[in-house]
Symmetry: C2
Subunit: 359 residues, 2 copies
DNA sequence: CGACTATTGGAACACGCTTTCCGCCCATTA
DNA sequence: TAATGGGCGGAAAGCGTGTTCCAATAGTCG
């Protein structure tokens, strides 16, 4: 090991940079390691201002930063929180992440962000890795999965994490006994349905998301039930499964049009899907929105304002949800676990209108 | 300290979860810590299959995951890379981040993602924190700043990081001697100018980004020079500073219209700005794109396809840039530092057209 | 002026893991 | 059969920091 460094035969002042240890700082300031430690991390013990000053100066000169792994080991606690999302480049998640990361930064915590690329296996794996890192907490963003085998293993991993003293919070339905920020998916979808009904639509289709997501199930249920209550059927063939992406929405709309040419309104289960739906209607199907067909999305991502026509959607305060979830994570644990319900409300914009009168 | 745990008076098998140590696994498998360690992290030394099996099984039963900080300390290397972006919720950065994080995940590394919210001080701070964490490398995404005082301190911090054995790479101009993925900002802006000139535009305005970013300077220079070479002036008042956000573009366009009512084409220095520009033209100024005024953006974010008309822009392969930068970071260091130039090419879409004929 | 207290510096151990260095045992060969 | 070498398990010494406990010093009061 040629790179081994012996501490004694080195000059007291290493060139700035390098791997400076607390011992180096102590040596350079002519004090013991204990004293240097006390000065540099505000322990309860007070150090004489004279010495404290010398230590501070030495640390600055040497560009000392404490070795976080060593610190974590000694203190048995870290300054890291985990943030697990399904896809960084989905505006839904990045808006939430922005809120969450801001709060984490306020608390002087570093965020380990993991993107599962919508693969539940990776989600489990990440929780485990964050457990290994002794993360102070982990925030699970995004819908849970309905598949019980997956869910069970995720829960076990989460339980192990919590058993080790880590805090857990989630955004969205995870049926886990931890603090949760819960958007009113069902209620929001109901409102979307009511809006379309009020406008006079009766032949309504849905471009959905991955059926294995609980969010999808809830939104779909709320929508369908409200329609049924009004005597409007939502047959199976009127529901096309997408994948919650723009391209999925595009393809889904084409399929829906094939199955159900008479459709006058489409409910897309999230905004990227809605955007794709509108693109397909414009570029592929040549049907005008909202004159010939209405489109409603869900989430209200920023882009909803920039498509033409502007997108009618169900608004969720994404960034705020991220903030609040991170606050739950970092506050004192509330036992029993708290659930923050977040209101979802329809924002009526340009993509909806009454259906064309029958010829 | 009521939570202190004495190892000896505890049963060998802790309930799953808890803070299980390697020693616990070793005890439970009836081997030494050394052996357990060798089994669980594929060291060079081989362990007899009988014992190895026992260890594996014990680890699984106890849900053991190694203590990453302790491992980092002992190995003097971590499994973490840092990723510093200006804003998570900007599609430019989140696309790059997606690429970078995918590659990091392929290498079994966890990503510590930090969002500076466009504050250079935070950027410096984050590099320092990542140095503390002994991150294996740090990827600086996004333009550097022209302010020399900031830049200098950032460079010092980066140098300290590198001196400690950390790898560094950046996306965008940082004038740092490290591996760099460099989008051809100047060239791209030149092409944008040529396109507008070829269409016949002569009264051209710019909605810019924060002037302190090098990216802004380069794009602006390329654009202006090309115009000048064709004998078209770009006076100061034709350049409005935005902030690289959609809202900045919106406000910028209004200001530009005030200063220069006769403008027939606008170059927005990034896509969110361009989207804002189009929104202002539609909602506030009532000028039709591209019939009355043309708009060109830069970056080609996904939303460029979903605005109406679709946005003519200068395409950068964002996700690929993130991937390649992360590869540079993780590959063997090339000395001298490598620079990967990334071509920027104009994609002509719906937001550009020849200017209206003079009345 | 001496003793006692309040205060602060320093030695040493603990945190959980890696890794070197020993030593043991078994198999192979003369 | 005995010597030798290879393979493999275990003891122990760190890695850099936090923290407890003890000693030493200064300050105060009787």
């Amino acid at each position: 090991m040629p790179a081994s460094r012996s501490r004694v035969d080195r000059p007291v002042v290493t060139g700035p940079g390098g791997l400076v240890t607390l011992q180096d700082v102590a040596d350079s300031a002519g004090v013991s390691r204990a004293t240097a430690s006390r000065v540099l991390n505000g322990s309860s013990r007070v150090v004489g201002s004279e010495l404290a000053d010398r230590v501070q100066r030495a640390a600055k000169v040497l560009r000392y930063v404490s070795n976080a792994p060593a610190q974590a080991l000694a203190r048995a606690t870290s300054t890291v929180v985990g943030l697990i999302v399904h896809a960084v480049d989905d505006p839904y998640f990045s808006a939430i992440a922005a809120g969450a990361m801001r709060v984490a930064a306020e608390h002087d915590l570093l965020t380990m962000m993991a993107s599962t690329f919508r693969d539940p296996e990776r989600e489990i794996d990440y929780v485990s890795r964050l457990r290994a890192h002794r993360a102070r907490g982990v925030l699970l963003v995004g819908s849970g999965f309905t598949a019980t085998s997956i869910t069970e293993r995720l829960h076990e991993e989460i339980a192990a994490f919590a058993a080790g003293g880590g805090r857990v919070a989630c955004i969205g339905e995870h049926s886990i006994p931890f603090d949760t920020v819960l958007p009113e998916n069902r209620r929001g979808a109901e409102q979307a349905a009511k809006l379309l009904l009020a406008l006079g639509h009766r032949r309504i289709g849905v471009v959905s998301g991955p059926p294995e997501l609980t969010t999808v199930a809830h939104r779909l249920d709320g929508f369908r039930d409200t329609l049924l209550a009004a005597g409007v059927a939502l047959p199976e063939h009127a529901i096309v499964a997408g994948d919650f992406t723009r391209d999925g929405g595009y393809a889904g709309m084409i399929e829906l049009a094939r199955r159900m040419p008479e459709v006058t309104a489409v409910f897309a289960l999230n905004d990227p899907t809605a955007v794709g739906v509108m693109a397909a209607l414009r570029d592929e199907l040549g049907r005008r929105v909202p004159e010939e067909i209405s489109v409603v999305g869900f989430d209200d991502i920023p882009a909803a304002l920039d498509v033409s026509p502007t997108l009618t959607t169900v608004r969720l305060p994404l960034e705020e949800m991220g903030e609040r979830a991170m606050r739950l994570l970092l506050d004192d644990p509330g036992r029993p676990p708290r659930t923050l319900r977040v209101k979802a409300e329809v924002v009526s914009r340009g993509s909806t209108a009454p259906p064309r009168r029958e010829p």
